[in-house]
Amino acid sequence: MSFRIGATVLIDYDGNAVQSYNFKVRRILGDLQKVLKFLDTYEVDEIHAIVPYKGKGVNNSFKIFSNLSNISISTPLGIGGGITTENIKEITQDPFFERCIFNSAIFNNPRLLQETKSIMGHQSMVASIPFIINDETLMIYNSENDGFQAIEGELYKEISSNFNEIILLDANAEGSKKGFNFEVFDYIEFPIDRVLISGGLTKNDIKKAKKMGLAGVSIDNFVLHSEYSIKGLR
């Protein structure tokens, strides 16, 4: 199985593609269809299309995903952000995606995770884990509270049993080239071949990730700007 080079596309509430820097600043990138078509032509290995809710905002995801389903792409797709117990049946009725990506449900909604797993299969379950490391403590992001919290043993078990893969996003390095913080692997208990990393990745980081045997990387802004060659990285 080959090392995967994926791309993350963030989608705002109006359905535009946006870029995010340092987990704080966002900039509109443009029309979602154009961005996805570009990535499709560029033959990235997979696309993670995320509606990044922060806090308990109005959930518009069903409409956004509905529009997304009309875009013809031949690249594997994972969707996330605003998947709820209320809309999961509608979203998965004609799944135009292969993976479901969760964040807040990791902390508070095992029912949603079980339901999704029963419809889509364990292979579809992906956890998005933005992280920071503060004073030798790993803190992971919970979008519902819009804050970082320390990770505990029980949560590791939940993540291991519910998810097939995890995406570790270095929140401090997001959107930059300052380097991914590999120290996170001192804290995370998850099979390494089921981990993708994102945020601040340099070419050397990508080589290192490949050498470590990770499942892949997601290189968001740099792919969108064509700064890295996918074929070269493969």
Partner: protein, 199 residues
């Protein structure tokens, strides 16, 4: 040509339509027996075997698919669609499937999953003379294809089967039956090449 896509409210029908659109092929969604044309039938993936078979039986499409397969109509099963062609699947506590291909569908060893890209090669000249495939200028589809599954097909006898290094059956072709464990509709250029070769 009007390709049939099984649409019983389950499976990634929209993605299959996009796949066919990209090769300018015509299709229709099949909800009931009366909807079928005599062209190829696609059984999509991305659903669970128990629920899918339950709905097929409810509508009576299970028997119709078996009948049409015996009459020589081309059937293309994708991911779950491939698994449903076998006799039995371990998914959902055990499910009797269509039995169009002798064999069964089992969880991958140690309940692992298989996600990502693997290589693919199909040379139409290596297929049996009975294979329902038109003679075309282009004889080969080759490249990489996308897998995302936790069950695998184990066949008892096939005329043309391809296995990966991890012993997972990548695809199987016998006469008018085509089964793909991967997702050709999400396999970029190679996926389109496969479609244009087999249709």
């Amino acid at each position: 040509m009007l390709i049939n896509i099984i649409d019983i409210g389950l499976g990634n029908v929209g993605s299959i339509e996009h796949w066919l659109d990209r090769s300018n092929l015509f299709y229709k969604r099949v909800f009931q027996i009366e909807d079928f044309t005599n062209d190829a039938i696609i059984i999509p993936g991305v659903a669970s075997a128990g629920e899918y078979m339950r709905k097929l039986k409810e509508i009576g499409l299970d028997g119709e698919l078996v009948k049409r397969s015996k009459q020589g109509q081309k059937i293309i099963g994708i991911c779950l669609g491939f698994q449903l062609l076998t006799d039995y699947s371990e998914e959902d506590g055990g499910v009797e499937c269509l039995g169009i291909l002798k064999g069964s569908t089992k969880y991958i060893d140690n309940r692992k999953t298989h996600n990502g890209w693997d290589s693919f090669h199909l040379d139409a000249r290596e297929l049996s003379g009975n294979t329902h495939i038109k003679k075309k200028k282009k004889k080969i589809a080759s490249g990489r294809v996308y897998f995302n599954h936790e069950l695998k097909v184990e066949l008892e006898c096939m005329s043309h089967t391809s296995k990966l290094d991890n012993n997972i059956t990548s695809f199987a072709i016998r006469d008018n039956i085509f089964g793909f464990q991967f997702h050709p509709e999400k396999s970029q250029r190679t996926g389109q090449e496969i479609l244009e070769l087999i249709i």
